[in-house]
């Protein structure tokens, strides 16, 4: 059994509880031990890097320091925004000057030896795919999905070092293994507007509507994502979009771990899929998946 430090981030303790729940369940099923980082703090995403470079580096660095103290080598991060910050600082820590300065800020050295990977990377290695394939209890029965990675998972490519920057494939491969039909579309890494939900809701509505339109046009019955920000925007804004533009998408938005959990036989209730703001259960029930 491999052990990972698990950094849930604020979303998975709040708006994306179902992501947290499903992630823990599928990891357990697949033999990955997740140990939540003890006393973890905010990764600094969304605001710290706008304010201070050293704050933006030190916040995630403290989390890496905690993992080092736990004696673990690898940290897996479900949230794309957290991943971006943590991966960024793990790259910056290669510079001894930066390392020393952050060490001074934190009041203790951080080596930066911890490998940071996104949960979607951890769960889509060939080894895991093979393992999952053998454990499927409920194949997804041709559920037509659009995989949506969002803007942060693969960018900037030099830092993120994850998948093909403009046309990532990890989730596609996983969902095909689970028996899903993955539709061809071009918006896999487009922005949903996640950094502007409060200040410029109009932009979020416009961008999210474009994504939903494109997914629908591509024939998707649902969108699958690996980011709580994307999920929150796409899942919670459909009512407002209907109000403003008249489009009634009724498009269920899943975390990839939820669909993985379903395929591995967990009931939708246990995966907290009922928490979604846009109804996802009807689709699943119609396919005998919930």
């Amino acid at each position: 059994m491999s052990t990972y430090a698990y950094y849930p981030g604020c979303s998975l303790h709040g708006t994306a509880k179902e992501y947290d729940r499903s992630a823990r369940l599928v990891c357990q099923a697949l033999g990955l031990e997740l140990r939540e980082v003890e006393d973890w703090n905010c990764c600094g995403a969304s605001s710290a890097h706008m304010v201070s470079r050293w704050l933006a580096l030190s916040l995630p660095a403290r989390n890496l320091q905690l993992v080092e103290k736990m004696g673990l080598e690898t940290m897996t991060v479900p949230c794309a925004a957290c991943y971006a910050r943590l991966k960024d600082v793990s790259c910056e820590l290669k510079d001894p000057e930066v390392r020393d300065k952050i060490g001074r800020v934190l009041g203790g050295q951080v080596t930066g030896r911890v490998t940071v990977e996104p949960l979607v990377g951890t769960l889509t290695t060939q080894e895991i795919l093979d393992k999952a394939a053998g454990m499927i209890k409920k194949p997804l029965a041709g559920l037509k999905v659009a995989t949506y990675y969002g803007c942060l998972l693969t960018r900037p490519p030099k830092v993120a070092q994850f998948d093909v920057p403009e046309n990532p494939q990890s989730m596609d491969r996983l969902l095909r293994v689970l028996g899903s039909e993955v539709v061809e579309w071009y918006f896999k890494t487009e922005c949903c507007g996640a950094s502007l939900p409060v200040a410029r809701t109009d932009i979020v509505l416009d961008l999210s509507r474009k994504l939903l339109t494109a997914a629908k046009k591509a024939g998707a019955e649902a969108i699958v994502t690996a980011c709580p920000m994307c999920h929150s925007n796409l899942d919670s804004r459909q009512g407002e979009i209907r109000g403003r533009y008249g489009d009634d998408f009724k498009m269920p938005i899943f975390f990839f771990t939820e669909l993985l959990g379903l395929a591995l036989g967990y009931p939708a209730r246990e995966l907290l899929i009922a928490n979604h703001l846009t109804d996802a259960l009807s689709l699943l029930q119609g396919r005998g998946l919930a």
């Binding site: 920057p165 403009e166 046309n167 071009y186 494109a214």
Partner: protein, 664 residues
């Protein structure tokens, strides 16, 4: 016994303002071997030179030290002056008390002391100078031109017209290069082929030019005036001596589906082919990778059955198909080489945001040239590769593979702004209903009539120029959506297009680095040749006798390439105007008694001047080819056994300098 004269120059006030020149001369009189020392306002002036010459006679001087500026300025002047006075020119040394002293110091006392010490060192050195004599070697007055694009063609014609023999080697089956692929040229919109093909024909018929197409340079040995070159003549499987170029074979060849290199994949060609109708030579080659008969033979060997074809052989009226023809290696001697190996366009498949090169209606500028060309695959009709329909909205993206660190191409490709403007104009001429959009970073239109041309495209031809890079292209409903930023308005923009044209930048030609290494010339990280001097010696390489022209040294447009070609030709003619070449005697020399034959020197020599010589006892030792050696001294530093020495800078001379300084 050395009788040394020291001459201290004031250089007006350049030296005299910070150095007490009279005092320095006075001090120099006390240095070992110095029998005469004096100072003067301008030693480089005629009066100054005469002063030195007179002193040589009067004081019977056999060594001279001129304390003045850098030897890079006036060493030839003073060498000539002492030679006229009957002294071997290499018995004169310069002490640099200007750049190394007066110009960089303010304190007169300290500067004077430093100048004195510099001269003390040079006096110690010159006492150990030996007379050196330049050697003369003969030369082969024949030029090798590598590359048959417009630069190579121009250079070959210029040198041939000056009466010298020229061999032009071209890798593809025809000369003409990229220029032959173009429809029109900016900013005058001359038909490219119309101005190029007469040159191609002139070249092929020139009595002084030997044309070798479908050939490559395999190896280059030797040195300026005496290069020995191996050329690989690839088998064409067609006897070009008997072939009349009637065209029956390529019209009847049943293998018609080979993507045409000349049409950049926009069209198809046959297996036996000429790249385009005006190709020179106008005789075909057989592309053995795609020929049905060659494939049949290969299958037969494997014990499989495949239809035999040989249609070309059956139909050829002159029986010119020669299946037995093999690759051939030709060895020839040349006195000079012009490298004009051209360029390739950037491969845009690394741009994921533009579809990784997979969208059929996202094409390159060069592909559009072929679509617009009357002799191109669509007979000049511009249509979408995906469905053959006429485009109405065409979007151009500048700087694809240029000015982009992300893809390792930070440099500007220089021609794209202009060719994109030309394309926008030409499309409008083809079909006035076409709307064009150009996404650009900056417009770089430096050149005669260039800026005016771009303005015309915007104002008269109504092309919409949007300043900003495109972030994303994606297909939607049979069209392409282009998302970018208008950085002038600070706003995202989206444009719908039927056809997208990428202005792909210039990269070094495929195999350029291998070629540079074969020839032994230096190149930069991108595979472009480094000039000897970027401003003052722009068509010379760091290897004597090897010149460059065109995009071999970086992005250039046609007029620049042609100018460089003619410049390189003049350099060659200058070289060929001599019957002998004089070599610099300050070269390395091997003490073969000390040499152990480790050949570290051979490894470090950037000029391939180290040769191997077997002594009578069978011992293999190094020998320096003095015609090739540049006297850089790398081998001397590398030699572990002190077997190597640099004439004019021997260990003894340099040690004497250091000792003189330490004893002071």
């Amino acid at each position: 016994m050395p009788r040394i004269g020291v001459f201290v120059c004031h250089c007006g006030t350049n030296i005299a303002a910070t150095v007490d020149c009279g005092g320095v001369a006075e001090a120099a009189r006390g240095f070992p071997g110095v029998v005469h020392a004096t100072d003067f306002t301008y030693l480089c002036a005629e009066a100054g030179q005469r002063k030195i010459q007179d002193a040589i006679a009067e004081h019977r001087l056999n060594r001279v030290v001129v304390a003045s500026c850098s030897p890079r300025m006036h060493e030839p002047t003073f060498r000539k002056a002492v030679a006229q006075a009957g002294l071997n020119p290499y018995l004169m040394e310069m002490a640099n008390i200007r750049e190394h002293c007066s110009w960089v110091h303010a304190d007169r006392q300290v500067a004077t002391a430093k100048a004195t010490e510099i001269i003390r060192m040079v006096v110690a050195k010159v006492a150990r100078n030996e007379p050196l004599t330049a050697k003369q070697v003969g030369l082969t007055k024949k030029l090798l031109v590598i590359g048959g694009g417009i630069a190579g063609i121009q250079a070959a014609l210029d040198v041939a017209n000056a009466g010298h023999q020229v061999t032009l080697v071209e890798r593809t089956p025809t000369i003409g290069g990229k220029m032959a692929m173009l429809d029109k040229t900016f900013p005058t919109l001359d038909c490219s082929a119309c101005i190029l093909t007469p040159r191609m024909v002139e070249l092929s018929q020139h009595p002084n030019i030997e044309l070798r197409t479908y050939a490559e340079v395999l190896s280059v040995k030797g040195f300026v005036g005496n290069f020995e070159v191996e050329i690989l003549q690839k088998a064409r499987k067609v006897n070009h001596l008997t072939c009349t170029g009637c065209g029956t074979c390529w019209q009847k060849c049943p293998e018609k589906n080979v993507p045409s290199e000349f049409d950049v994949g926009m069209g198809r060609r046959t297996a036996i082919y000429i790249p385009f109708p005006q190709a020179v030579p106008n005789k075909p080659v057989i592309d053995t990778a795609n020929c049905r008969y060659v494939r049949h033979l290969a299958a037969k060997e494997r014990g499989e059955k495949l239809m035999e074809c040989r249609v070309c052989e059956k139909l050829c009226p002159t029986k010119s198909i020669d299946w037995e023809q093999k690759d051939e290696i030709i060895v020839d001697r040349f006195g000079a080489i012009i490298v004009a190996n051209g360029y390739d366009t950037f491969d845009h498949s690394v741009y994921g945001e533009y579809g990784y090169g997979k969208y059929p209606d996202v094409i390159t500028g060069l592909q559009l040239e072929r679509l617009m060309n009357a002799s191109g695959p669509t007979k000049g009709e511009v249509v979408r590769p995906s469905d053959g329909k006429h485009p109405h909205s065409v979007v151009f993206l500048a700087c694809v593979g240029s000015r982009d660190d992300k893809v390792g191409r930070p440099y500007c490709s220089k021609i794209c702004c202009m060719y994109t403007a030309k394309h926008a104009l030409m499309l409008k001429e083809h079909d006035p209903n076409i709307q064009t959009y150009v996404f650009y970073i900056d417009i770089r239109a430096a050149g005669r009539g260039y800026e005016e041309f771009v303005r015309r495209v915007q104002e008269e031809y109504g092309s919409t120029y949007i300043r900003g890079r495109v972030s994303w292209i994606y297909p939607q409903d049979g069209k392409l959506m282009i998302k970018g930023e208008d950085t002038l308005l600070g706003r995202p923009v989206e444009v719908e297009a039927d056809l997208v044209v990428l202005a792909t930048g210039i990269t070094a030609a495929k195999g350029a680095v291998d070629l540079m290494q074969t020839i032994g010339i230096s190149y930069d990280t991108y595979g472009f040749i480094n000039e000897m001097h970027p401003k003052l010696r722009p068509v010379e390489t760091n290897t004597d006798g090897v010149y460059l022209a065109g995009c071999a040294s970086g992005p250039k447009d046609i007029p620049d390439s042609v100018s460089q070609a003619s410049a390189a030709a003049v350099k060659v003619c200058g070289l060929f105007s001599q019957d002998y070449l004089t070599t610099d005697p300050m070269t390395s020399v091997v003490d073969q008694m000390k040499c152990v034959g480790c050949f570290l020197c051979e490894e470090v020599c950037p000029f391939r001047a180290v040769e191997r010589e077997t002594l009578r006892g069978g011992k293999v030792v190094a020998r320096i080819n003095e015609s090739v050696c540049k006297g850089c001294g790398l081998c001397v530093a590398a030699c572990r056994g002190e077997a190597l020495n640099l004439k004019g800078f021997t260990d003894q001379q340099l040690l004497a300098q250091v000792t003189a300084l330490l004893r002071a």
